[in-house]
Every structure is written in C-alpha cells, then in structure tokens.
C-alpha cells in the first residue's frame, strides 16, 4: 500500500455512514487483520455569542493537501505495522451532525492501530492546508482554527 502517487483524499460534501459501512465491509476479505480503528470528525453545532453553527464550508489548497496526506500516509506506514490505511476529507458544505473526516487504519494487532490513528489525525489537523468557514444560522460566519 506504500509508495503510490498521491491520490485524491477529498470528497464533495459530507461522508455518509453507508460509505463508512461499505469501507468496513471491504476489509472482511483481509483475514490477517485483527484490529481496525476509525476516527470520524463530525461538525459540531457550537454556540458562539448566542449564534449556532449550522454548517462548515471546507476549502483546501488541494494539490498541496493531497501531497501532505500522502506524506502522512507514507510516514505512518514507515512507523507502524499497518495492513491498510484510508483517509477521506470533505470539501464544500458539511452540515452540523454530518461527518467531514474519516480515517481508517487496520493492523494484525490492536496496540498499533491506537498509536497510528492518533498520529495520523494529529498530523492531518496540523499539517494539511484545509480551511473551514463556520456558517451560523443567520448566514453570518467565522473562520475555524484548529487547536
């Protein structure tokens, strides 16, 4: 699974629960896997100064972001004994309650997947040029910043 060219991690709009279920099903032929770990980022309806976030509009510097996702992927495969790794991130509008990030790692052993998943998610949050406009119910907005 390593040394491939960067592929497109982005999906237009929210990531559906069916897509995630199908992705899990596809791994049931890989019988060396003993443990999967999945991270899902979901858009929160945060209340800020009395206004509620209704959606986030995601944009990205797509070429650089896909290159960064690829770097993170290669680093994780080098560092951890992973059988599989999949990353999907939304672009465009994702409503509160919908899923905008899906990271899926699999390994023969459980200890590995815990470490690997946290490594990958933290790297995505800090290294990938993705931008999020938090849109409130009254159509005003603010720009999201990862902490």
């Amino acid at each position: 699974m390593t040394n491939k060219k960067p592929k497109n991690v982005f999906r237009q709009g929210a990531i559906s629960s069916e897509f995630i279920g199908d992705s899990i099903a596809k791994h049931q032929t890989k019988t060396s896997i003993g443990a999967h770990n999945i991270f899902l980022g979901q858009v929160r309806a945060d209340e800020i100064d009395g206004k509620t976030v209704s959606a986030i509009e995601y944009t990205a510097y797509e070429d650089m972001a896909n290159a960064k996702f690829h770097e993170i992927r290669e680093a994780a495969f080098a560092k951890f004994n992973l059988t599989c790794m999949h990353i999907y991130h939304s672009l465009g509008t994702v409503k509160a309650g919908e899923i905008c990030l899906f990271v899926f790692v699999s390994s023969p052993r459980r200890k590995v997947v815990f470490e690997a998943l946290e490594f990958i998610v933290e790297a995505i949050k800090s290294e990938v040029p993705v931008f999020g406009k938090e849109v409130f119910e009254d159509n005003t907005h603010q720009w999201k910043v990862n902490n």
């Binding site: 986030i56 944009t59 990205a60 995505i124 949050k125 993705v130 999201k144």
Partner: protein, 77 residues
C-alpha cells in the same frame, strides 16, 4: 517574472479573489508580501504562512518564479 498567487480561507476576504497572476521584479518572498500588503492593506494584519510550489517557506526565501500560496491557520477535520 510572472507569479501566480493563491489566497485561501479568510484571506480571500481581504483580497476579494482566490488567485491572481502578477508581474514582479523583486527577489524575496518578503518583497512580494510587501507588494501585496500595499495592494491589500487588510492582508497585513492576517495570520498566515507562505507556501512556494506547495512547500512552506520562510519569508526570506528567494522567489523561484512559480506558485505562491498564502495559507491562514488550518482547520481540517
């Protein structure tokens, strides 16, 4: 030389555009930024990093004549 400049996220509210090509005779990224600050005064007070050809660079980097991107804080995930 001709440089393509890309703006993202909240920076596009200062520039009112996502991308532009400009002719520029300076040498360093920092010189290009001074030029952009003159054009878009609101940009000066924004927090951003600079990528040249998709790699983050310090502002004292030499311009290579290719793509420059101004990147506000990341918000992925």
């Amino acid at each position: 030389m001709t440089i393509t400049i890309k703006y993202f996220g909240l920076l596009t509210e200062a520039t009112q555009c996502h991308e532009e090509s400009i002719n520029f005779s300076g040498v360093l990224v920092s010189e290009l930024l001074e030029n952009l600050f003159s054009k878009y005064p609101a940009l000066k007070h924004k927090n951003f990093q600079v990528a040249q050809n998709q790699v983050l660079v310090p502002v004292n980097t030499k311009l290579s004549g290719n793509e420059i991107a101004l990147l506000p804080p990341y918000a992925g995930g």
